[in-house]
Amino acid sequence: MTEGLRTDRLNDSRSRWLPGYAVLVFAFLYLPIVVLIVYSFNGQSVGGFPPRGLTTHWYRVLASDDAMWDSVVNSLEVALAAVALALAFGLPAALALDRVSFPGKQIFRRLVLLPLILPGIITGLSLLMLFVAAGMKLSLLTITLGHGTALISVATTELFAGLQALDRAQEEASLDLGANYWQTFWRVTLPNLRLSIVGAALLIFTLSIDEIAVSFFLIGRSNTLPLEIWSRLRRGMTPEINAVSTLIFGFSLVTILVWYRLRVRGRAPAEEIA
């Protein structure tokens, strides 16, 4: 409650231009999204002002666009596999960073986290060289491996944060009560990490769906959705892109809301049971 009091006081005494400025920043952040949605229903194929003629034409075009839907399916496959890969390696990486000391740990930490900050082009190119050297044909598999490599860093940071927040005494209590390491992992560590895991999975999933810099270099015959969009953007204005983006945006919003609900519920298990 002190939080509320504090806020009120600050609102009174702190500068008045700040809320207005915040509104402007939000406007800047949302302008392209609004344009995108509005022009997905625009009757003209170019984006003139004002928008003319409300139409669902672009959605109908989209519905019958098989190449686009193939790429959506490809992207979903890649994203699911990337989530599995990133979690399968990110979780042990987070555990290792949290509780194992070994020579070269600092280098390991930096290497794991590097793709998080490194421009995707470097990750993409270096992996391209690897696959070429290994004689692998570029395909959705190489893209998946690329996404996995780039996104393990995300899984690791998210899960590492979760582990740091986890009270170590929880695991000690479990061992103390006779559970071995494996039992402790399943019965205490994992349940306590479930929010971080779900969060990491959602984040990885969306990042993978949207990923283009790494995929750009590892693409084989079949396109992921961003690459499909890319190939069409290069050809010129296609409001169909607006339509598919609006759909994805709507889907993302729903995902956020679900995640938000999950988190609120996860934070207050007590009230939920009461």
Partner: protein
């Protein structure tokens, strides 16, 4: 009253066979040393815990008391020395192979499990027969008076209730030894005293040895059969509360447990002298430090008044009252002696004292202690 499950431990043949000899201690800590990096935390600690004993490791923060507990629990391994339980080597075993259970400082209850499942945890992971579990959990919860909270989540319990659940969770496994890491430190003063009484009677009831860690000397005095005072990784003294208070071995012990006056004295021909004070002392000649508890100093008369004849052993001196702190039944009085020596005296409350008074103490109450000088 329903007999708690843990009481049947005494009749459990597997357990009694563990101890080879009735007189042998339950837990033997032998010359245990532990370092964290270059920092020594425990230096060659040796300590025994007897069957059914309530032993408290008392120490200030940084004394190594929690580390000692964690060595016994198995969360840390000693760098040297060994730990035995019922004659068998304990160090080297992972925590889950030790018949020791811990009550953690902030309880460490599993937030994702109900109270019942928290208590059942140890039984489940050790594959106790499924049919046996509800009965044992119920008995353990009854023992700590938490039966009606079985289906609650830990987050819905008060600190005191969580404390009870943590205790039940440890006891339900019928350990040979229970470790308690400052379990009462998170409770407020009133609840804390209440829990002390309960903890003590519970321990008596189940007859399991408790190794208890605290920094609170009053708590240690109230609960323990014996106190092991730890300081900078060394054992300062191990003794019963009474003995450690009345016969402190070192100046540190005397100061840590209760208040005291440390008198740095010169002994010559059976008389000890510190400034203007002199009292009879059987020790050989030389320098020595004595601990004189404030309650051993008694108020005489105001200076100038006639007093009754002194006993053989009584030392009488004059001091000004410098400060007086009201403490209910007794007052703590700070005395300034003629030579600048300051003493604390605890005297029955009797209104404000002013000016100079006569005080007296018996030389026998001065306990010679080891001093680091």
């Amino acid at each position: 009253m329903v007999l708690p499950a843990t009481q049947s431990v005494a009749a459990d043949p597997t357990r009694s066979s563990g101890s080879t000899d009735a007189a042998a201690p339950l837990l033997e800590i032998r010359s245990v040393t532990k370092r964290f990096g270059a920092t020594p935390v425990l230096s060659s600690i040796s300590l025994d815990v007897a069957e059914g004993e309530f032993l408290t490791i008392l120490g200030a923060s940084g004394s190594g008391k929690t580390t000692l507990l964690r060595l016994v629990a198995g969360f840390e391994e000693p760098d040297a020395g060994e730990i035995r339980m019922a004659g068998q080597r304990l160090d080297g075993l992972p925590p889950y192979r030790r018949r020791v259970n811990t009550v953690f400082q902030h309880y460490a209850l599993f937030p994702h499990l109900s109270v019942f499942e928290n208590v059942a945890y140890g039984l489940r992971v050790q594959n106790v027969r499924r049919t046996e579990i509800p009965q044992r959990v119920t008995a353990a919860l009854a023992m700590v008076k938490m039966s009606e909270y079985a289906s609650r989540a830990p987050a819905q319990l008060s600190g005191g209730q969580q404390q009870r659940v943590a205790l039940a969770r440890a006891l339900v496994n019928r350990p040979q030894l229970v470790l308690l890491d400052e379990p009462l430190s998170a409770l407020d003063a009133g609840l804390r005293r209440e829990m002390q009484v309960e903890l003590k009677s519970l321990q008596r009831e189940v007859g399991i040895a408790f190794l208890f860690v605290t920094h609170d000397q009053d708590e240690a005095m109230a609960l323990s059969d014996r106190i092991a005072l730890l300081r900078w990784g060394h054992l300062e003294q191990v003794a019963t509360p009474r003995e450690i208070y009345q016969r402190p071995a070192t100046a540190y012990t005397a100061q840590f447990i209760g208040q005291t006056n440390l008198l740095r004295a010169e002994i010559r021909q059976g008389m000890a002298r510190a400034g203007t004070l002199a009292w009879r002392c059987a020790s050989s000649d030389g320098r020595a430090t004595f601990s004189l508890r404030p309650e051993s100093i008694h108020l005489g008369a105001p200076v100038g008044e006639k007093v009754a004849a002194l006993g053989d052993d009584t030392t009488r001196f004059t001091a000004r009252i410098r400060r007086q702190v009201f403490g209910g039944a007794t007052d703590l009085v700070e005395l300034a002696c003629a030579d600048g020596l300051t003493l604390l005296a605890r005297i029955p409350s009797r209104g404000n004292l002013e000016g100079a008074w006569e005080f007296e103490f018996s030389g026998a109450d001065g306990v010679r202690v080891q001093d680091e000088e």
